[in-house]
Subunit: 460 residues, 2 copies
Amino acid sequence: MERMALDAIAEHLRSLDIDVLHEDLEQYGRDETMDLFAPAGIVVRPRSTPEVVEVMRLAQQERIPVTPRGGGTGKAGGAIPVQGGIVLSLEKMNRIKEIDASNRYAVVEPGVILWDLHAACEEQKLWYPVDMSSGGSCLIGGNLACDAGGERAVKYGTTRAQVTGIEAVLMGGRVIRSGGKLAKNSAGYALHHLLVGSEGTLGVITEATIKLVPLPTHRRTLLAAFSSMDTAAQAALEVERCGATLSAVEFIERAAAALAEEMLKVQLPHSDAAALLLIEIEGFSEARTQDEIEQVGTLLLDAGADDVELAPREKVWGVRHAVAEATKMLPAYSACDTVVPRRSMPKLVSRAHGIARRRGIEVVCFGHAGDGNIHIDFIKRKEVDANWDQQIGPAVRELLKATIELQGSITAEHGVGILRREDMPLQFDEDTLNAMKEIKRAWDPDNLMNPGKVFPEGTP
Amino acid sequence: MERMALDAIAEHLRSLDIDVLHEDLEQYGRDETMDLFAPAGIVVRPRSTPEVVEVMRLAQQERIPVTPRGGGTGKAGGAIPVQGGIVLSLEKMNRIKEIDASNRYAVVEPGVILWDLHAACEEQKLWYPVDMSSGGSCLIGGNLACDAGGERAVKYGTTRAQVTGIEAVLMGGRVIRSGGKLAKNSAGYALHHLLVGSEGTLGVITEATIKLVPLPTHRRTLLAAFSSMDTAAQAALEVERCGATLSAVEFIERAAAALAEEMLKVQLPHSDAAALLLIEIEGFSEARTQDEIEQVGTLLLDAGADDVELAPREKVWGVRHAVAEATKMLPAYSACDTVVPRRSMPKLVSRAHGIARRRGIEVVCFGHAGDGNIHIDFIKRKEVDANWDQQIGPAVRELLKATIELQGSITAEHGVGILRREDMPLQFDEDTLNAMKEIKRAWDPDNLMNPGKVFPEGTP
């Protein structure tokens, strides 16, 4: 039945000159979430909002699920078409519609690659400060869907903090528009804030208006080495006291950095340290930036750093960005995107290591110390064995429970997707989950928008 | 019928030791929106979330409207019980539950007065940066309901940007909890962001977790005088180019300042200027702050200021904060809380004066130039006459239309309430308004939460 409906939809869309993919569908059944896969029924790649409207109108009419897709770099399975149907890939809606330098806003389609936006802004001495390891291939639409954070959030906030307006298409084909190039706006419900982080379960974002900031003229990276992981984690908090505008405060357990070094065939200093901190300072004046570097350097030494040095930016960021990729290349891994109140971060890192030790597996921690968002990857360096198979599920569950005990969240920036849907009741009570589901049902009564995500099995 | 139900509810609530007000109900029928009034049926002042739950349970059971109320300082009539029923005043839920200095968050009840929170934070060298003229009497709950902005939003964002967690009670008595002391969080829908700015139409906020920042150690205010309003408005944009962390960029038309001066019996310099800019610079070092002051001062002179001086902070902010109060004391006024993309602000100011001139009425403009949020008050200095009565409605409507033409919003920080509900279709198309109403109906099918607000008459 669904196959017939899909074929008819494909034919109809093609007759309207909408791009329906014939072959190479398999890649649209995966993202970067371990080895999850589900086949797409058809893949549609609209070029404009009216084309998205047409897809959503037909999907509702024929009761076909729609899974929106960005760059396929998700780590929670949010873009995997678990119920088949239509994969709606936004890759061809990739226009930067406007960079309004005088008001400092950009208007973009969801298919823009993050680093393409960076480049376009930099040409005009402006900056879109959200940045992350997958910047070369992730799409703005996916960033919006998951409220992507990354390393600059410590200063600028996550994707949500940049978005002031959204156009989206709801299931059935209605187009909604919320916000604009506005620093303040209290007219009506903030639908754009509801859509950010909703992981494609409420609608398809077809345009976003985002704030830009002046491009800093000076940028320096400090690398600090610590002989204790706990001291490093604490020091990451101490440096905030200077009042300087730190734009990144990254924590890398030395074992995590080593994985990336090996993959990239580079070597950072301090191979005998337990952990590294990577701190970025930016500004608009040589003197002031230098002043802050010295202040932060002193604070780091006071907080117990064995060594602090000005680091070659590309090299250290290269290593930092490659860690997640490097753990993926191991025989097995399971990535947890945890976040806790900043001060509890050292506790969580220590609990992660305790869990791993007790269960006879290995763990590496790295991430955004400045905002309490630590990526905790359980890894298996050699072939998977019975102990790994037995321990990995309970280890992850135990870690997520520890995260919640510390008043944290089961996902900071990757989203819930499929991966964490069954863990949602750890974080939310029934009334709160139901309130979310009621919103989902209000806009998508037949549960066709990215079904099988965010909410536990069997709902909404 | 409703009276009987109300009496029974009052009796039941009193039997549970919940505070139901016997007398002085009249003040609960007003806020600070011109001369709007509607009588409350009963006024309940809960002291805790379980007491709010009880009220909301009974209200749903008996189908009685509930109008949540903060400090009664609203300027759009959002707290006026237009359908009678229960006024739920949050004034007694006024505890600052926690100031978590190490994580830099506060957990507050909705009844906390804004400047009480400021004082409590400052004791710990921390700062809650949202500030506004009504800070001595407005409540955090009202700030959340309207997404209040104020003068520091240019650097720190509006109330929304500070909120990372909310507890709220929905109609019928369900309690939902979203977020926490977290810099990043992408688990589930951001219900706290949906509630911020929903003006009490979706539920009652009973607790909020808000970010704090380090209290700046240095703060200076510059006063710049301009002989042309347009030059002043343009200069407000030029100063941003320095990259300095300006924490306020305020525009005051000289005639607006004069009204406040007269009320306060003080005198700012430059009584012959056309407009003033008030610019605040803050920092953590004497040298750096001084450096920025000089840079901004030079930019202002380059941008056409006739004079720039370091100003006595309390005096100039006193005048700035008193402007809205001063226009309210005139025989008649009508306040518009407009916002446009920053660069269009001079255009809107000029159009406001054009509208007033053509219609033979007077207008004064003042507000937050740094984020394009200008308060445009049509005023009548002498007794109201037939021309005022005839022109004021169309003048406001014409101004709001101009705001929308310039890609702005009909309200920046006051909210829609009753005052702007019929103007909502100027800004939102039918599909978008319907999408908002569907959310409202999902949580409040009988339209009992603050009915008669936000949406045009007859809906949702």
